[in-house]
């Protein structure tokens, strides 16, 4: 009996594992869901699309993908200045101009606020992995009016009481992404900083784009998606891809922007 159980488990898990490993996609109801960056304001979990705008968390039922249904009565009011939403398992991390919210979507139609940590006014995307959440605060964004450019790392093992553990100075940080022990942070001038976060409370800055001539022109990185060893990067200068399986980032390809003449 036990063996059958194990076989069933293996039969179920292996295809899912392979599918995830291949595409980095998640699955719900047979439909695969893609992956967004940390600056996203849309995220799909299970059969629901969650969106955040200035002051509202909205829920759309997408169990029939072609016909989304807006569940208006499930709207949740948030503080003004919501910037980003990030989904990890049954958690939603919402970055706003005055803090980070953590919601549980165990009951997907009824997001439940678990906590909110506030910080000085700034713009902040957030990603999470294991027991830690990583947030960049960017003040040069004129609408935000803050004075801080940092990477904050929170211990979220107690979801109701996130604890600020690390504050690391940045130039002008934007999106960020994490895979395993590697944290990627978009930061102006240096492009992308790679941190070893094997020990999240002591992040080690191990690499950046300085050594990569093909990415020399990158001065305004915007967001990253690390997926199975490939770092997809959106920058003001175009789409760049890097391999992060080795010790250092390795350039893979780029599609650069072509500015219109009348833009400047």
């Amino acid at each position: 009996m036990k063996t059958i159980y194990k076989l069933i488990l293996i039969a179920v898990y292996i295809p899912v594992w392979i599918a995830c490993a291949e595409g980095g996609d998640t699955y719900s109801n047979g439909d695969s869901v893609g992956r967004g960056g940390s600056m996203a304001r849309f995220t799909i979990h299970d059969n629901y699309l969650y969106t955040v705008d200035n002051s509202t968390l909205k829920i759309f039922d997408v169990s029939n993908p072609a016909q989304p249904e807006y569940l208006q009565r499930k709207d949740q009011a948030l503080n003004f200045g919501i910037e980003t939403i990030f989904n990890k398992d049954t958690l939603l991390f919402i970055g706003s101009q005055d803090g980070m919210y953590i919601y549980s979507v165990v009951r997907p139609e009824f997001p439940e606020k678990l906590s909110r940590v506030s910080h000085i006014r700034s713009c902040d995307p957030v990603v999470a992995s294991g027991n830690y959440a990583y947030v960049t605060l960017n003040s040069q964004n004129t609408g935000c009016g803050g004075w801080s450019n940092v990477l904050n790392i929170y211990d979220i093992s107690d979801l109701q009481n996130p604890e600020l553990k690390v504050t690391e100075e940045m130039n002008y940080p934007k999106g960020l992404g994490i895979d395993g022990n590697k944290l990627f942070v978009c930061d102006a001038i240096l492009g992308i900083k790679v941190y070893d976060v094997s020990n999240p409370v002591e992040p080690q800055w191990i690499d950046d784009l300085a050594r990569i001539p093909e990415a020399d022109e990158v001065v305004s990185p915007y967001d990253v998606i690390p997926v199975n060893g490939l770092l997809l990067t959106s920058t003001g200068e175009g789409l760049y891809q890097f391999d992060y399986t080795g010790e250092n980032l390795r350039f893979v390809s780029k599609i650069t922007t072509l500015k219109k003449q009348d833009d400047e």
Partner: protein, 164 residues
């Protein structure tokens, strides 16, 4: 009689011209970005697919669903990039969607904001399967410094242009 009519029409037209100009000048003078509007009826027919790829100008958010990378062209739509070979990504086409800043994909369907509307777009058939009107606030300006929310539902804010 006709002269009088012509006179009045010309007068009215000059008046409108003066009013519009002065309104634009005084109202938006100190704005870094000036809003661009689209008629509601046009907005509802504005989402389409172009198989001829476009140049990237101001890339925004990024979304990955194997083997495709989707990159937002701010306020304009989404670049569709076939990334089967990451060494040679191929720009395959462009989803035209005025006012678009965000997207997410489930199965064959992309959800994107078409200014204040949410649109479901079938990536295989290249067509809109659903439009939910007036669910989002107007897209904010590039530097996040200007919000606009006038509830004129005939003309919808879809983009921002740098004020020269």
């Amino acid at each position: 009689m006709r002269t009088l009519q012509t006179f009045f029409i010309s007068f009215a037209m000059i008046g409108i011209l003066v009013l519009t100009t002065s309104y634009t000048d005084s109202y938006y003078e100190n704005w870094t970005y000036v809003p661009i509007f689209m008629a509601r009826a046009d907005l509802e027919n504005s989402v389409s697919y172009q198989s001829s790829p476009r140049n990237m100008e101001t890339p925004g958010k990024i979304y990955y669903k194997s083997p495709y990378i989707y990159i937002n062209e701010r306020y304009k739509g989404v670049h569709v990039i076939d990334n089967s070979d990451p060494e040679n990504p191929v720009k395959e086409g462009f989803i035209v969607a005025p006012g678009c800043l965000d997207m997410a994909v489930k199965g064959n369907t992309m959800y994107l904001d078409n200014a204040v509307d949410l649109v479901a777009f079938d990536l295989t058939k290249k067509e809109v399967t659903e439009r939910i009107k007036e669910v989002f606030p107007e897209p904010v300006s590039p530097e996040n410094d200007t919000f606009y929310s006038e509830k004129n539902r005939e003309y919808i804010l879809v983009a921002w242009r740098k004020n020269n």
